[in-house]
């Protein structure tokens, strides 16, 4: 009691003293405490952040400041701690006489992985000294900067033996997104060039009608300006056979993707996009900004996703053919104009699609006439599981054939993702195994990375070779290889597939693990 009386008296004396100062123009300014910034961040590399509370002047007396903290998606004790320690959402800082600031530390306990957010808000809530004022900013938000994930296990949602989904995977954020393969047929490039991609996942194919620019004039019976000299694979002899195509109707026979699909690689005629995924390799020629230079195309809409359940270990990915449409595409450089109609229609629909620079491509459905949300933002995916993948190309002894794969994987070459394969051993026909002098997946480190091996001009390095027909029919994961990937942000990862089948032996359940190289 005596002490209290003493303090009150002392305070009174001080007030008097300050009055005196004011009077003399030499009185101290108000003592106020505030944060330096309203927000700050804790970068991926930092594990602690020093947060300073500044004073308006040096403290003329000792005291304590109390700071309340609250975490958003961050919990004291598991995600962060402070020094000095806090309790029940509050920590106190001692202020000694003469100090102009105090600081405390925020300690990060767990790295925040890309794709999520977390922050801690500190608020000055009080002081021990009655005349201490709390200035502005009264609180500061410390957000944790996300870091690239250091490892992960991904089960891409290919979704079973019909492989109905295409899946995009981002390694640094351990995220995936999926969309049904049959929701779109064409995709328009959002970069500088005016390019049109086909949905190879749905076996979509397209053939240009040379010299034909009037979409309404095209029908099944249209006679081509010039007959096309093409090849097909004779299924009885497995030898290429010449075919001459003079009408649209004749062209339709060899337009769908299949071993016997028409083409002429020698003349550069291919009704699919190339396997490598280059801008130049699309079935559609580059769209010209001069309208009359853009011809009509016949688009084979690919095959429906079947819904029958095949035997365990088998797939059923291609159902009935979805028919044909005619399409003509124009561009002004910033948008695409799509003219499309049923093959034998005499009128057409038209849609304009603006380029969206946040994604590589904008997908479009010819059947619904609308754009479809398919790809994540350009930087937000490294690998794609198209699941089903088709193209026209050489295969084994075939000089040219329409090929369809399942369990397929490509990487985002157009989004500046590079990848290479590491082979650890090979077995020859006699079964003799040769081990290569390379580190195993477990041993592979940053020092082993060969920057020059990263492939940026072929998306199909992983392809379907990560799995192989098994000892007893159903596919198995090849254990002789793993992959090194460098994402657009410069993170290096090693990737290894662990499963192609579900635990019950059903196809269409891939799984892989990866680790960031340090």
């Amino acid at each position: 009691m005596k002490k209290t009386v003493f303090y009150i008296l002392m305070a009174g004396a001080l007030v008097l003293a300050s009055c005196d100062s004011d009077d003399g123009g030499t009185s101290l300014i108000d003592f106020s405490a505030s944060f330096a910034n309203e927000s700050t961040s804790l970068s991926g590399e930092e594990s602690t952040k020093t947060i300073t509370v500044g004073f308006s002047r040096a403290a003329t007396e000792a005291g304590t400041l109390t700071i309340d903290y609250s975490g958003d998606n961050a919990e004291y004790g598991t995600d962060f701690t402070t020094t000095p320690e806090g309790q029940s959402g509050r920590l106190s800082l001692s202020v000694a006489e003469g100090e102009t600031s105090v600081s405390f530390e925020l300690n990060k306990l767990v790295d925040l992985i890309e794709g999520t957010s977390a922050s801690v808000t500190f608020t000055l809530s009080g002081s021990s000294n009655a005349d201490w004022v709390i200035g502005s900013p009264v609180s500061t938000v410390v957000s944790f900067t996300p870091v690239a994930a250091t490892s992960g296990t991904i089960d891409p949602d290919v979704s079973g033996p019909n492989e109905p989904n295409m899946v995009f995977v981002d390694l640094s954020s351990v995220q995936q997104s999926s969309v049904r393969r049959d929701t779109w047929e064409l995709a328009f490039y959002n970069g500088t060039e005016n390019r049109v991609f086909l949905n190879s996942s749905l076996l979509v194919s397209a053939a240009e009608l040379s010299g034909e620019t009037d979409i309404n004039a095209v029908s099944t019976s249209t006679v081509l300006g010039e007959p096309m000299a093409l090849y097909t694979l004779n299924m009885a002899t497995f030898q290429p056979e010449e075919v001459e195509v003079a009408t649209v109707g004749e062209l339709l026979v060899g337009l769908p993707v299949g071993y016997a699909q028409y083409g002429n690689l020698g003349e550069g005629i291919r009704f699919t996009d190339d396997k490598e995924g280059s801008l130049e390799g699309t079935a559609f020629a580059e769209v010209s900004t001069v309208p009359e230079e853009n011809n009509v195309y016949i688009v084979g809409l690919g095959t429906a996703i079947p819904d029958n359940v095949p035997d365990a270990g088998s797939i059923a990915t291609t159902g009935d053919h979805r028919g044909f449409m005619k399409v003509r595409i124009l561009s002004d450089g910033d948008s695409y104009t799509v003219q499309y109609a049923e093959l034998d229609a005499t009128t057409y629909d038209e849609v304009t699609i603006d380029k969206d620079p946040s994604t590589l491509r904008t997908a479009f459905s010819l059947t619904s006439g609308e754009t479809v949300d398919v790809e994540p933002e350009t930087e937000a995916w490294d690998l794609q599981f198209p699941s089903v993948f088709s193209y026209y190309g050489a295969f084994g002894g075939f000089s040219g054939a329409g090929l369809t794969y399942s369990d397929y994987v490509v990487h985002n070459t157009l989004g500046n993702v590079g990848l290479y394969e590491v082979l650890t051993y090979e077995e020859d026909d006699e079964g003799t195994r040769t081990d290569f002098d390379v580190p195993s997946y477990a041993e592979y480190s940053m020092a082993d990375v060969d920057e020059g091996s990263l492939v940026y001009d072929n998306r199909a390095i992983i392809g379907s070779d990560w799995r192989v027909s098994g000892f007893s029919g159903a596919p198995t994961v090849r254990d002789d290889r793993f992959y090194i990937l460098k994402d657009a942000d410069g993170n290096y990862y090693k990737i290894k597939f662990t499963a192609v089948l579900s635990a019950n032996g059903e196809r269409g359940y891939p799984q892989f693990i990866y680790e960031k190289l340090q």
């Binding site: 365990a312 291609t318 098994g470 007893s472 089948l501 635990a503």
Partner: protein
């Protein structure tokens, strides 16, 4: 190790034999004596005609005993003109006879064709035919289409059921057989364990009822594989090295039967009902190494189980009508079902994680009847006629033969109505002709004619010449008719418009016997030449006439087989010795209309020899059988560079055994199968690179050298 295990086995069996000994002394006190097995009622006449027309090889009880044969696959290995073709992936064994596969051979049980997976009598899995209840196996060589219908091209194998003893009211026979599988043996999980029981009860003077059961527990063959619970985990992930599972899958077979025989004056009735059950477990070589939510491997594998049930009900009536006409009537109802179960096996937790399929995937129901009547013309010296009909109604489906992806597992029905006649023309004492003809009406391909003409010429002095000329007629099988597998990359379909294969077969057989030494010594030699010319042979071909290329079956190939064999036998006192050789050539014209294939013969050599020697004082006999199968080549495909031959290396199969009559009621057989330890044989048509350990292209033929021991006990009393 194997020897050690065997000594344990012997030790374990010792008390049994002691028990048997005491049983014997008991029996002595009741005054029961050992009796030979004798035929109770008149033998079915089904095969007697065949013997007149064709050459019949018999594998008797004695030989089955020497080989300790429990299934047909155990004994047919040693036949000169038959090759057993085992398939490790399915556990099935089929046969090839005179170079023609199981489709061309008909297997009968007491003269009635046996239900197979998708047919009647042909392409039978011979490991499923139990021999405990079998008296002998008759192998009839030659085109038998007139008497046995379609698919009896290379010949017929008839399994004749055992009759009981008839002098005592009761007889009980039990036997135990223990066998190693290669060097693998353990009391429960490895090796082969067989138990048999048979009961006979005489009913009055002319009747008998029998019951029997046989259990065959085959533990499978591991070879280099490491079993169901094997997984290789390194650095936290599964290494799928393909070593899980087994080389040969384990299976458990149970065969049970009831037999009833009754003679009523000149008529005989025989009814047999046999039930067969087989559980086959197939462990996948692949391990699925998915990581669980905690990032730890949760290895699983998809294993399969096939459960086959077969129920055979055969009724035969035979006897004489009037003064001399003999008749034979057979009725049969058979039902075979195969259940399929697939499950995901959790290797670390050693249990089923989920059942992924559980369904009936094969079913066939067969109604069958056949009757013959002969000797209609009373006591004609030179002419005799046999008339008969055969009817078969098959209804069923088979998921395997219909294609794994097939959604239309439609039940299909095949019906056959056949009429046939065969005549004997005896022209003098030395020469006779047997012309025969069969009109077959099949619900799939309509009316067809099958014919044959045989002739015997007795040159005197125990020298006989036989010649058989006939159609080589094979009906298309279920798979060829109804297979269906269509998706984006495949279009494989059966062809319902297939016609039967037809052609000509010729057999010439020269037999000579000489008496040698004292007593009943005998030297015999048989020379044989045969030729098959099969037209319209069904082949798997590509058809690009439609919009989408199709793989299907068509009647386009032509196959020719030409073969010679010689068989010599000596029987002298306690010694019997046989030596045979066969030289077989095959020529296939692929797609005969275009003449693209080669028609040169490719030849292969086979040798066999057997020896047995009796030691009467020891009440023992020794035997050994050896068969050499030479390099075999088959024409696989032809391309621009000519014909491609698939080659299988030669291999030799040697079985040895010793048999003891320990007491009048107990006998013991022990021996070694596959003494030369054949497991795989190099073959060029087997794809390589899938097996982590062998590496080379080889076909599995055996389990390696195996040892067996069989103890039988017979108890008879009134």
């Amino acid at each position: 190790m194997a020897c050690f295990r065997f000594s344990i086995l012997l030790f374990l069996l010792l008390p049994l034999s002691v028990f048997a000994q005491s049983a014997e002394s008991q029996k002595d006190s009741t005054g029961v004596t050992k009796l030979d097995e004798v035929v109770l009622v008149g033998e079915s006449k089904v095969m007697s005609l065949s013997k007149k027309l064709f050459r019949v090889e018999v594998i008797g009880r004695e030989q089955i005993r020497q080989l300790a044969g429990n299934t047909l696959a155990d004994v047919l290995n040693q036949n000169l003109n038959i090759t057993v073709m085992p398939d490790a992936s399915t556990g099935r064994s089929t046969i090839s006879m005179f170079g023609l596969d199981g489709q061309y051979v008909k297997i009968l049980l007491d003269g009635i064709p046996l239900a197979s997976d998708n047919g009647l009598g042909n392409d039978i899995d011979i490991t499923q035919i139990n021999l405990e209840d079998v008296e002998r196996i008759e192998i009839v060589e030659g085109s038998m289409g007139v008497l046995y219908g379609d698919n009896a091209v290379a010949g017929v194998i008839n399994i004749v059921s055992k009759r009981g003893v008839n002098d005592t009211k009761w007889s009980i026979r039990t036997s135990l057989q223990e066998e190693s599988v290669g060097s693998e043996y353990s009391w429960f999980d490895q090796g082969r364990h067989i138990q048999n029981l048979r009961l006979d009860r005489r009913l009055g003077q002319d009747g008998q009822v029998s019951f029997g059961a046989s259990r065959n527990d085959y533990g499978g063959f591991y070879n280099d594989y490491k079993g169901q619970d094997y997984v290789n985990i390194q650095d936290g992930t599964v290494v799928n090295d393909g070593l899980r599972g087994m080389e040969w899958s384990p299976k458990l077979q149970l065969t049970a039967f009831v037999d009833f025989r009754q003679k009523i004056k000149k008529h005989n009735l025989y009814f047999k009902s046999q039930y067969f059950d087989e559980d086959l477990a197939i462990y996948d070589h692949d391990v699925i190494g998915r990581l669980n939510a905690n990032g730890e491997p949760n290895p699983t594998a998809t294993d399969q189980q096939f459960d086959t049930h077969r129920w055979v009900n055969n009724l035969s009536l035979f006897g004489t009508l009037g003064s001399s006409a003999t008749y034979n009537l057979a009725l049969s109802y058979q039902d075979q079902k195969r259940y399929y179960k697939a499950y995901s096996y959790n290797i670390l937790q050693k249990g089923i994680e989920a059942v992924t399929a559980d369904r009936l995937n094969q079913s066939s129901k067969i109604l069958y009847s056949k009757a013959t009547i002969s000797n209609i013309f009373e006591r004609s010296e030179w002419f005799n006629l046999l008339l008969g009909y055969e009817f078969a109604h098959q209804k069923g489906f088979d998921a395997i033969a219909s294609g794994a992806y097939s959604e239309n597992l439609v039940e299909n029905t095949l019906e056959n109505y056949d009429l046939f006649a065969s005549a004997d023309l005896l022209l003098g004492k030395t020469i006779s002709f047997y012309p025969g003809v069969r009109l077959t009406n099949n619900s799939q391909f309509g009316n067809r004619l099958i014919w044959s003409l045989s002739s015997t010429y007795d040159l005197g002095n125990r020298l006989k010449l036989k010649a058989i000329l006939g159609s080589a007629f094979r009906a298309p099988n279920f798979e060829e008719l109804f297979y269906y597998f269509v998706d984006s990359n495949h279009n494989v379909q059966g062809n319902q418009d297939l016609l039967p294969e037809d052609g000509i077969s010729i057999f010439v057989d020269l037999d000579k016997k000489w008496a040698i030494g004292q007593g009943n010594g005998l030297f015999s030699t048989a020379l044989k030449a045969y030729h098959f010319n099969i037209d319209d042979k069904i082949a798997f071909v590509a058809d690009d006439s439609g919009d989408t290329p199709l793989f299907t079956y068509k009647n386009v190939d032509q196959q020719k087989i030409l073969g010679f064999s010689i068989n010599n036998g000596i029987r002298l006192k306690q010694l019997a010795f046989g030596l045979g050789a066969t030289y077989l050539g095959e020529a296939i014209t692929l797609d005969a209309s275009q003449n693209t294939g080669n028609s040169d013969y490719v030849w292969s050599l086979g040798l066999n020899s057997n020896i047995s020697y009796d030691l009467p004082k020891l009440k023992a006999s020794l035997s050994a059988q050896l068969k050499y199968t030479g390099v075999s080549q088959t024409i696989a495909t032809s391309d621009d560079d000519g014909v491609v031959l698939d080659r299988t290396d030669p291999f030799t199969w040697l079985d040895t055994s010793v048999h003891f009559d320990l007491t009048p009621n107990i006998d013991l057989t022990m021996g070694a199968r596959n003494v030369l330890d054949v497991v795989t044989v190099k073959a060029s048509d087997v794809s390589s690179g899938t097996h982590g350990t062998t590496g080379t292209d080889s076909r599995l033929f055996g389990n390696g050298r195996s040892y067996f021991l069989k103890l039988s006990y017979l108890l008879t009393f009134n």
